[in-house]
């Protein structure tokens, strides 16, 4: 089956089984390995991507559901200003997620702050709860999110940073 969709701003077509999971398509067929595979149940968040602007676990998205959709992976997201904000905050807060949950954490923070620009600590923890990794360093993570939220509050910031 041919599946055509927009990936990181460009149109791509892959030939695959209809039930092939998006995470497999991204990693094995399109060689975009920034999205990691983990639990295949949507619980760990390692495989997170933006689908139509919303963060989803790509392990629960079959190929046929992607046709005509807009997908942004962490590779595409790195070209945005939103990404730069978040990574700068990681450095400032000395937060170093392990490479396996990096994409999930970054996209989760982005999605959280789109919904809640000034989240409380509890809202941060709830909003990032979908990325489960045993490298978790909670205090630094909270600091990092607050740094991003604060810096965005201080400058005008439009939505739509999920596009390269």
């Amino acid at each position: 089956m041919n599946v055509t969709f927009t990936l990181n701003g460009k149109s791509v077509t892959v030939n695959t089984e209809p039930d092939q999971r998006l995470v497999h398509i991204l990693r094995e067929e399109l060689k975009l390995v920034g999205t990691k595979s983990g639990c295949y149940r949507g619980d760990c968040g390692s495989c997170s991507v933006l689908l139509g602007g919303e963060m989803v676990p790509s392990c629960l998205v079959p190929a046929f559901a992607v046709r005509g959709a807009e997908v942004v992976t962490i590779e595409g997201f790195t070209r945005t200003r939103d990404y730069a904000d978040i990574v700068h905050a990681f450095e400032e807060a000395e937060y170093t997620p392990c490479g396996h949950c990096f994409a999930g954490r970054v996209l989760a923070i982005h999605s959280l702050l789109l919904r809640l620009p000034s989240p409380s600590e509890r809202e941060i923890l709830a909003g990032l709860s979908g990325v489960r990794c045993q490298c978790a360093d909670v205090s630094s993570l909270l600091r990092a999110v607050n740094v991003v939220a604060y810096s965005r509050a201080r400058k005008p910031h439009g939505r739509g940073g999920g596009h390269p």
């Binding site: 039930d19 619980d43 919303e54 676990p57 079959p62 999605s111």
Partner: protein, 286 residues
């Protein structure tokens, strides 16, 4: 657009009429939207899908949310996060809390109420909320539409009252005002399904007198614990209940717990007793 693609045929209708026609011709097809339950429950990632799959995600009618003064209608394909975006001030509190607790944030962008309600073998964490809010379901098939209460749609056991070619299209949530509305979920579902418990309680009070009350417990399996007899026993009572007044309440509760077909562990029963006691304490105005 509907087309056949490869060994698994995937159809993607864009309108409700197209969907109903297709489903009428292919009643064994798998209706797929978020697919979260289907894919999470697969044993292996290559388990595959049935021969015919109808992807309902693009059907506009199933993606609508309509609100009136008396109720809110949610299309069966609306994602959980989109429902939450309606706002905690509009959605019934218990429903809002249950949806937030249901799944991780990313999965909520895929999961739908329609998919959740149509799970056959379990009643899931949020079922007590559906039951007590008396949600209504619109079921349509080619040439016919009917509304049915959830309690009749998903009765005791694993059976769903779905006739051939029928599609769940809308979920209607009546607005009602309650003085107290509580949802509690105990133990993450993944940890140990047999330990899981959820609770929903609604009450109308006036000067510590219970004017109306509903409560139900959900477990991981098909068991839902609700007793109208117990609710009726409590209506009109003045809280807090003394020991003598609690006696008939406790008796009905015990009879309800013993009468459950599949049984619960002593541990679960004890927690149900405690949670009910806690809920009644919550209703007391300090």
């Amino acid at each position: 657009m509907a087309e056949s693609l490869g060994p698994t045929n995937v159809y993607t209708p864009s309108s409700l009429s197209e969907l109903l026609s297709l489903y009428d011709k292919l009643p064994q097809a798998l209706l797929f939207n978020g697919g979260t339950h289907i894919l999470r429950e697969q044993h292996g990632i290559y388990d595959g899908l049935p021969a015919n799959v109808i992807n309902i995600a693009r059907v506009e009618d199933l993606n609508r949310i309509n609100r009136t003064e008396r109720h809110i209608d949610i299309g069966s394909a609306v994602s959980v996060n989109r429902i939450l975006d309606i706002g905690a001030n509009v959605l019934p509190r218990s429903l809002h809390d249950a949806l937030v607790a249901m799944l991780p944030p990313g999965v909520r962008n895929l999961a739908t109420l329609g998919g959740n309600i149509c799970i056959r073998d379990r009643r899931r964490t949020i079922y007590p909320v559906y039951l007590l809010l008396e949600i209504q379901l619109e079921l349509r098939r080619l040439g016919a539409t009917r509304w049915t209460p959830l309690s009749r749609f998903a009765g005791p056991g694993a059976r769903l009252d779905l006739q051939g070619g029928e599609v769940l299209t809308r979920i209607r949530i009546p607005f009602s005002t309650w003085d107290r509305e509580v949802y509690r979920r105990i133990d993450q579902e993944l940890e140990s399904p047999s330990d899981f418990l959820s609770f929903c309680g609604l009450a109308r009070m006036e000067k510590n007198v219970i004017n109306d009350v509903r409560f139900a417990f959900g477990t991981a399996g098909p068991i839902v614990v609700r007793s109208r007899e117990l609710e009726n026993e409590l209506i009109g009572r003045h809280l807090p209940l003394g020991r003598r007044e609690m006696a008939p309440v406790a008796e009905i509760l015990e009879a309800t717990l013993s009468g459950l077909r599949d049984g619960l562990s002593e541990f679960q029963k004890d927690r149900i007793r405690s949670i009910l006691g806690w809920f009644l304490d919550q209703l007391v105005d300090e």
